[in-house]
């Protein structure tokens, strides 16, 4: 079967995913999965919240109703994507990445985040590493995703390096990574902008608004 309306097709899938996930997390997975889990000898899984009654609603009640409605609407949108009569060319989503790229990205963050939590007791290193790796991958293999990935990565780099490197260096890094995500990249211009912005943020945010940020790297102090 051909996808007639890409936008509706993927939007429907997304809504169904969110709706079903909400229901499953709220009431717990279907009985056969729980049975399968137990049969593997992994013990009693912890899941779900209390449903309650219409009179005394438990924490699961409202999310289950919402999730169910969302899943149903998602199904309708999904079917519309398959059956739409509009010309398919006009309904292209024009996403800069494919579904496989998306899965790789999510797996990278989940894997490195979990790994660093186990190894270093904090997921931060994994998150930072995943952002940098993804940025490099996007730069090398998926130039179309540069705006998306580098704009997200610049925020992550800034956030995770602010405390160790201080506001000045973190801001300069942010500006450079962000600029790489744009169309034109002029090193000189970006360098001037980076210095000006870091100066401005130190004066306004640290001195003016007294935000508790370190200005210089921790190892210099």
């Amino acid at each position: 079967m051909q996808i007639k309306n890409e936008k509706d097709f993927w939007a429907g899938l997304m809504f169904m995913g969110f709706g079903l996930a909400a229901m499953i997390i709220a009431v717990g997975p279907p009985a056969f999965l729980v049975a399968a889990w137990k049969s593997m000898g992994w013990g009693n899984p912890e899941y779900g919240y209390q449903m309650g009654t219409a009179l005394r609603m438990g924490p699961a009640y409202f999310p289950t109703v919402l999730g169910g409605l969302l899943a149903i609407l998602g199904l309708v949108v999904f079917l519309r994507g398959l059956l739409s009569k509009l010309p398919p060319e006009t309904m292209k989503a024009n996403m800069s990445f494919g579904i496989l790229d998306f899965v790789v990205g999510v797996a990278l963050f989940a894997g490195l985040g979990y790994g660093s939590k186990v190894l270093f007791k904090s997921g931060d290193y994994g998150m930072l590493a995943a952002s940098v790796i993804l940025a490099v991958l996007s730069f090398l293999f998926r130039p179309k995703t540069k705006p998306l990935i580098l704009i997200l990565a610049c925020g992550m780099v800034f956030a995770y390096l602010l405390k160790p490197l201080g506001l000045v260096l973190a801001t300069i890094l942010l500006v450079f990574v962000a600029a790489l995500g744009g169309h034109e990249y002029k090193t000189k211009e970006v360098a001037i902008l980076a210095v000006l912005l870091s100066l401005f943020s130190v004066v306004v945010f640290v001195h003016g608004l007294t935000l508790p940020f370190p200005i210089w790297p921790a190892f210099l102090q």
Binding site: K7, D8, W10, A11, M14, F15, F18, G19, A22, I25, Y49, Q50, T53, A54, L55, R56, M57, G58, P59, F62, P63, L66, L69, L70, L73, G74, V76, V77, R80, N94, M95, D124, M127, P147, L148, I151, L152, C154, G155, M156, F158, A159, Y160, L162, T171, L174, V175, A178, A179, G182, H183, E189, V190, L193, L197, S201, F205, L209, L211, F213
Partner: protein
């Protein structure tokens, strides 16, 4: 006359030197971000929220309100001179405003926008002052079932007024409601949807969601497109419109103001919807309808008045019911909560200075805006020559610092990035983020009122239809949904929003 003494109280508050300064800061910032395409009031107010913590409540709210209506003034400048909507509500101003500029009438177009906005601002300030108190009094009698039904109406209205597919808009509302439930359930203390992450125990911060969905996603989408701008910076020419112009614009300004004031009050309404509706009306009513799209002054005067009127009257549901009609109002609720003020009908009686001070400041702010936007227009035009490649890194710096400072934790930036991806995907799949944001802010409120109402009615869901006010809200919601799904209207609605999607 009670209203006069109330307004006098309000002006007393608004004219204090500090509040005047805050108002000026707000409208200058508002004009600035209005002029700059790609920075909206939602992202700006979200960025400034953490900073308002250090201000007094009145000053903070006056400033934030100034940003919203200031942006309506600034947005028209960009629309007229560059043919780009500086603000989403000035999309329709591009149609005729830019054409006027191409014919060498940029000056009168700018002046018309400012005059129309000022007139609309004055009238709608009065509308707020007149209608807010009686509404607040009615709202004081609301119980949980009335509140629940009112929120249903607000959400339905938001979906009906959203552009694009109705069913997707409803799905976005549901998604927003679900995301709003993340965190500790107030009734049972159970952690919901937190995945063992301790930072999620207090729920996802509204600012973080708004910055991701609107701020980040907007920058990413902008960077994916390459557009050529043609700026009429060199010659704005004479500002003053001719006598003939005044004659033609006056009725349009009146109609735009009336339409905008009415549509702004609706939950889900506000500046954007008002300007679209006004353009449609002007095109139908005008004697010069053949000139529309080629530089008709009515096409500037009507929508520009309407968007400013709508921006101001959208404060009515916020101030009287504590219910945000759009994303900006949701942020205002956030700002009130930061200051320890519970939004709702009691604000007017318990904090009259805040309530009337804010209303009075709107008029003061509008006066400042006329001065800022007419004699000083040259300054804003210069700003337009700053290329986007310089602007967006600066915006990103402010956004990241703002979000990080919320709790001094990189985790908030991570969540913002998550919503940046979601916002990008939604933009590509033609799912509107605005209804989602509204659902997100109303989610916990709705659940709480639903639970309370059901407890009071001993589990009988019919209670929502037995109380007259609540039943009225629900019936209006149902009628709205039915009417909008009728095939004839559906195609009309899609036409009305067609222009917006082309931008």
């Amino acid at each position: 006359m009670e209203i006069l003494s109330n307004l006098a109280l309000g002006f007393g508050v608004a004219l204090s030197p500090f509040n005047l300064l805050m108002c000026l800061v707000g409208v200058v910032l508002g004009t600035l971000i209005g002029v700059l395409p790609g920075v909206g009031p939602v992202a700006t107010i979200a960025m400034l929220l953490p900073i308002t913590f250090n201000l007094n409540p009145i000053g903070a709210l006056i400033m934030l309100a100034g940003i919203y209506y200031g942006a309506q003034y600034g947005g028209s400048t960009t629309a007229i001179l560059v043919n780009l909507p500086g603000e989403s509500s000035s999309v329709v101003t591009c149609l005729d405003g830019y054409q006027m500029a191409r014919r060498g009438r940029a000056g009168p177009a700018l002046a018309t926008a400012a005059i129309g906005s000022f007139f609309a601002g004055t009238i709608s300030t009065l509308v707020v002052a007149l209608f807010a108190p009686p509404l607040a009094e009615v709202a004081l009698k609301f119980g949980p079932s009335e509140y629940f039904s009112l929120m249903v109406l607000g959400l339905v209205a938001a979906t009906v007024l959203a552009s694009g597919s109705l069913i997707k808009a409803i799905a976005m509302v549901l998604l927003g409601l679900l995301l709003g439930l993340v965190g500790t359930d107030v009734n049972s203390g159970v952690l919901r949807f937190a995945f063992g992450v301790s930072e999620l125990a207090d729920g996802i911060g509204f600012v973080v969601v708004a910055m991701g969905m609107f701020g980040l996603a907007e920058i990413i989408v902008n960077l994916e497109q390459t557009d050529q701008r043609e700026v009429f910076t060199s010659k704005v020419g004479r500002l003053m419109p001719s006598k003939e112009d005044f004659k033609r614009m006056a009725p349009s300004i009146l109609r735009g103001t009336a339409l905008g004031s009415a549509l702004g009050i609706l939950p889900g309404g506000g500046a954007l919807l008002s300007s679209f509706a006004s353009y449609t009306v002007e095109k139908k009513v005008s004697k010069y309808s053949h000139e529309f799209g080629k530089g008709a002054i009515e096409g500037v005067a009507g929508p520009e008045s309407a968007n400013n009127a709508g921006a101001q009257t959208s404060f009515i549901p916020l101030l009287t019911l504590g219910i945000p009609g759009n994303a900006v109002m949701a942020l205002m609720i956030g700002a009130m909560m930061i200051q320890g003020i519970a939004p709702g009908p009691q604000v007017m009686t318990e904090r009259p200075q805040l309530f009337w001070g804010m209303i009075a400041s709107m008029w003061v702010g509008n006066l400042m805006l006329v001065i800022l936007n007419l004699p000083m227009i040259g300054l804003w035009i210069k700003l337009l020559t700053v290329p986007y490649r310089i602007l967006y890194p600066a915006i990103l710096v402010f956004m990241c610092i703002g979000v990080f400072s919320l709790s001094n934790n990189p985790f908030d930036v991570l969540i913002m990035a998550f919503f940046g991806v979601l916002g990008y995907i939604c933009a590509k799949l033609a799912c509107e983020p605005a209804p989602m944001i509204l659902g997100f802010i109303l989610g916990p409120l709705m659940e709480e009122n639903l639970r309370r109402a059901m407890l009071l009615s001993r589990g009988d869901p019919l209670v929502f239809f037995q109380k007259p006010i609540s039943a009225t809200f629900l019936i209006i919601s149902i009628v709205l949904l039915v009417v909008i799904s009728l095939p004839a209207l559906r195609s009309k609605r899609e036409q009305a929003f067609a222009g917006e999607e082309q931008k």
